[in-house]
């Protein structure tokens, strides 16, 4: 985590730029922008030390709308650009905003390697399961058989599960939230901002033009309680309209049990441990909603602590300087067999 302690207390207004926001009315991106602007003042970081980096896509317009240093890069490359920024100046708090096509298709390689290397970046995935800016083709998170402009007979593409992918890379902070749950989203952004190391949040985001209602069953109050389970560290996994359902482990497999019929109690349920360093645990949670009847978890799947790339790099620079002394050009030039011509 970066702390550079500002002298003044910021308000969300300090993070609003003078640019007109040009997303479609009703787009989920508005909520994400608002939650970021509400959360940044809570992090102990000077305004000038934030950098927002993006690639290409609707969500990649994000840097224009926050009054911070910003870099609107090229398609898929935001994690790489952000890495260069972070490594030259590790005191900066560097954020990446990206869509599902940007981060997981054309930029998939940069994403997995940034995660693997544990570069201290905060990556917000705006997952709307569609290509919006190019007007409605399927994305690497679109569900199988989906009919879109580029798949009139339905896709024959299996989708990525972004949280499972991030856990597979052993990213040190992996969470999921939703545009329609501002409080939870703020909490996740705050946690990501405070995390030291790569932090990844998959945000379910509604594209009301090309994929409206993709997450309806998770975000709207009539369906949400039955379909979403909130992950809270140290607490059992309970969901349902009347908090009457829980997740119990049957061997390696999570199953839904009723807390009403007297057969199972809270004590029998899986208790969430977000600090469990075994990726198998977080991976089990990530894949849970792929099974029929099981709810979709949101919250922090995994947070572990290990040295970041930038930290190890600067540690190495310090050690080499201690051993060899501050680099001196003359010494470098003459560091070979030399001879003199008179």
């Amino acid at each position: 985590m970066t702390t550079t302690t500002p002298e003044v207390k910021y308000t969300p207004k300090d993070f609003q730029s003078d640019q007109d926001v040009r997303w479609c009315p009703g787009c989920g991106d508005y909520s994400i922008l608002a939650q970021v602007q509400r959360t940044l003042p809570l992090l102990n970081i000077k305004k000038e030390d934030y950098v927002f980096v993006s690639g290409i896509g609707c969500s990649s317009r994000f840097p224009y709308y926050v009054d911070l240093y910003g870099f609107h890069g090229i398609h898929g490359r935001a994690p790489a650009i952000a890495t260069g920024i972070k490594l030259v100046n590790p005191k900066l708090s560097v954020w990446v905003t990206a869509g599902d096509g940007d981060l997981l298709s054309i930029g998939g390689n940069h994403f997995i390697h940034a995660c693997r290397k544990n570069i201290d970046l905060k990556i917000l995935l705006f997952n709307n399961r569609i290509y919006g800016l190019t007007k409605g083709q399927y994305s690497p998170t679109s569900e199988l058989n989906k009919v879109t402009k580029s798949s009139p007979y339905g896709t024959v593409d299996y989708p990525f599960n972004p949280v499972a992918l991030a856990i597979g890379t052993e990213a040190t902070f992996v969470a999921r939230s939703m545009d329609r749950d501002p409080k939870h989203l703020q909490e996740m952004i705050l946690r990501a901002g405070q995390h030291k190391g790569l932090a990844f949040i998959e945000i379910y985001q509604n594209c009301n033009i090309f994929n409206d209602g993709a997450f309806l069953h998770l975000t709207e109050k009539e369906y949400k309680p039955e379909n979403v389970v909130y992950l809270k560290h140290g607490e059992p996994l309970i969901f349902g309209k009347e908090n009457d359902k829980g997740i119990r482990m049957d061997g390696m497999t999570p199953v839904v049990v009723s807390l009403k019929d007297g057969k199972w109690s809270k004590d029998d349920l899986l208790v969430h441990d977000e600090f469990n360093s075994d990726p198998a645990y977080a991976s089990m949670l990530a894949h849970m909603n792929e099974k029929p009847g099981l709810p979709t978890p949101v919250g922090v799947f995994r947070q572990i602590f290990k040295p970041t790339y930038d930290e190890m790099l600067y540690d190495q620079i310090r050690k080499v300087k201690e051993k060899k002394g501050e680099g001196d050009l003359r010494k470098l030039f003459f560091d070979a067999t030399t001879w003199e011509i008179k």
Partner: protein, 614 residues
């Protein structure tokens, strides 16, 4: 028997053997010793793509050529005067390059049935008279090496591996080189294994004394020191010199150097060199791919570092889109393309100049980028330094076009005094310069250069990126007139750099019958050829371009001062294409696309042809 020592002005020697025979090391050490002896020299390794090809095969042959003399040396030599062949395959591969009368030293021990067969010899060339036009010196190098190392308690493998030092000793004797510096080197290199050090020293001396006592060597050569400019020298490889140039530029500029690169032949040595220099505030990032290499460099530059990325043709292609981003964002980065034979994967270890038009035009939209091309290994230092200076001063990406030939070759480099290097001034925008006014990221100075405001600077928060920007404010806009204005402005900014670079010089007379116009690593072969033709009184000159974009302001005038213009290139005529289009002058071409550098004799022949001399 007293052996005659014949004084010669220059000589070319080629060491060739299996890729595991240590010929690269042998050649490099011979080069160091030769430099210490005060000769000018130029070297060129020629090794296969296979790391360890099966022993004895033709494609496993590794070579190292070295040209040294008492005069100025411009190339690693056209044809070897002396070939050292450690096995039949090495002989077979290199035989075609020898002129009648050349000396061949062979390891006769390696000429057994199996190796002869692998090399495709139907009978033993040492016995069948097929080499009668050469001076063949047949030495049982393996046997003699093993004999010298008996009772040292070394394994057969360890003893056999010393045979390259035997060869080195033999050639030291032949060319009258001292052994001291090599003995010192051996003991430093093998300090942890004194037994191996001792064995190598023994082998070296055994080779030397064998030359002295055996009756088969009738001639020794001596090459007097060259008259080089006074100063302190060292040998540098082209890639090494690039690395040194970048470190020097970043130190002079007072900003950290950041290299984002993906390993690729023949550019990887730059990454190896720079990754060892952590104490020089050098950050090397071995990226996940070529695109990440340049994108991390762009990010590094946005944050206030000198971002560089180094690659070869295939990687250079992959970086195209990001180069356009750097043009649009107007950030200083340097892209090094160490060209190799293409297209596609092509011939990774072979040289070519095939990427010039790609560097000039290979991006979407109007995306002008300054281009600099070093002419020799030592000149790579200047290229890296000057590219960095221009990048920072003009807030632009700059491309350095090197070639496998100079990247892997080496020559003496007169070590500059760091204090005498031209200054590189970095002016980051400061908050106090913008009190009470909004920071405008695209407000330009008199050179059309925009300010460099780095994250962490309070009050100057701004956004940049690949979308077209409004003049001055930097706001995103598709305004048609603004776009046209910005395209022209970016182009003008690059063209104006011509005011900041030296005028083109001409070697020879400023006008005449023929101008040989060249760029990159062909410099030396052309200079040799031009010298020879001029010695015979012909009015032939050479202009060698260091700056390819923008070109020096007086180039048009020079081109119009000659009756004919010849452009030799290791491609199908890419500079010729640009010169015709830009200056509307007819040019003659000489093109070679064999993965090999020019021989000066090839240039010479073409010059005579154009002069109408037979």
């Amino acid at each position: 028997m007293e052996k005659e020592i014949k004084e010669i002005t220059h000589v070319t020697i080629r060491f060739a053997g299996d890729s595991g025979d240590g010929m690269q090391l042998t050649g490099n050490i011979f080069g160091d010793t030769t430099a210490l002896a005060g000769n000018d020299l130029s070297t060129l390794p020629d090794y296969p793509s296979e790391i360890r090809a099966p022993a004895g095969t033709l494609y496993g042959v590794s070579g190292f050529q070295l040209h040294f003399g008492s005069q100025e040396i411009y190339t690693p030599g056209d044809q070897p005067d002396v070939l050292v062949a450690m096995n039949p395959a090495a002989l077979k591969v290199n035989l075609k390059d020898l002129y009648p009368g050349a000396i061949i030293i062979v390891n006769s021990d390696a000429f057994d049935q199996k190796n002869l067969q692998l090399a495709g010899f139907e009978s033993n060339p040492l016995e069948d008279g097929s080499l009668s036009q050469f001076q063949v010196i047949s030495v049982p190098i393996t046997t003699l090496t093993l004999n010298g190392l008996e009772r040292m308690g070394l394994s057969m493998k360890e003893m056999t591996r010393c045979k390259n030092f035997f060869v080195l000793g033999l050639t030291y004797w032949m060319f009258d080189r001292p052994m001291e510096s090599t003995i010192k080197w051996i003991h430093e290199k093998f300090a942890k294994n004194p037994k191996i050090a001792e064995a190598n020293e023994k082998a070296l001396k055994a080779g030397y004394f064998f030359g002295d006592t055996a009756e088969i060597f009738t001639m020794r050569f001596s090459v007097k020191p060259a008259k080089l400019e006074p100063g302190i020298y060292r040998n540098v490889m082209g890639n090494e010199a690039l690395a040194l140039g970048f470190v020097a530029a970043s130190k002079k500029a007072g900003i950290p150097l950041f290299q984002g690169s993906y390993p690729i032949t023949p550019a990887s040595e730059i990454l190896h060199q720079l990754s060892a220099l952590r104490n020089y505030d050098v950050i090397t990032f071995q990226a996940e791919d070529e695109i990440a290499g340049i994108c991390t460099a762009i990010g590094a530059s946005f944050a206030g570092g000198l971002g560089i990325t180094t690659t070869s043709g295939p990687g250079f292609s992959l970086k195209s889109e990001a180069m356009g981003l750097a043009v649009m964002a107007e950030l200083p980065i340097v892209i090094c393309d160490i060209q190799r034979a293409g297209p596609s994967t092509g011939m990774p270890t072979k040289t070519e100049q095939g990427d010039l038009l790609q560097a000039m035009f290979g991006r979407n939209g109007e995306a002008p980028i300054p281009i600099i091309a070093p002419k020799s290994p030592a000149d790579c230092f200047n290229a890296a330094y000057e590219a960095s200076r221009i990048a920072i001063k003009y807030m632009t990406p700059v491309i350095v076009m090197s070639e496998g030939y100079i990247a892997q070759g080496s020559e003496p480099w007169k070590i500059p005094d760091p204090d005498s290097l031209p200054p590189i001034e970095v002016k980051f925008a400061k908050p106090e310069e913008y009190q009470d006014q909004k920071f405008q990221p695209y407000l330009r100075n008199e050179l059309n250069v925009r300010p460099w405001a780095i994250p962490g600077t309070p009050g100057l928060e701004h956004r940049i990126g690949g979308l077209e920007k409004r003049h001055i404010t930097g706001e995103v806009t598709s305004d048609p007139l603004n776009h046209e204005f910005m395209v022209k402005l970016r182009d003008e900014k690059i063209q104006k750099i011509a005011d900041d670079i030296p005028l083109q010089d001409v070697y020879g007379d400023p006008e005449g019958d023929l101008l040989v116009l060249s760029w990159g690593g062909t410099f030396g072969a052309i200079r040799d050829a031009v010298n020879r033709v001029r010695d015979k009184g012909y009015k032939v000159s050479q202009a060698h371009l260091f700056y390819l974009n923008p070109m020096p302001k007086n180039l048009g005038e020079i081109l119009h001062s000659f009756k004919k213009i010849l452009i030799p290139e290791l491609n199908l005529g890419q500079l010729a294409f640009i010169i015709r289009a830009k200056y509307l002058v007819p040019v003659y071409q000489l093109n070679k696309i064999q993965g090999l550098p020019f021989r000066s004799s090839e240039i010479e022949k073409k010059i005579y042809e154009l002069l109408g001399v037979n």
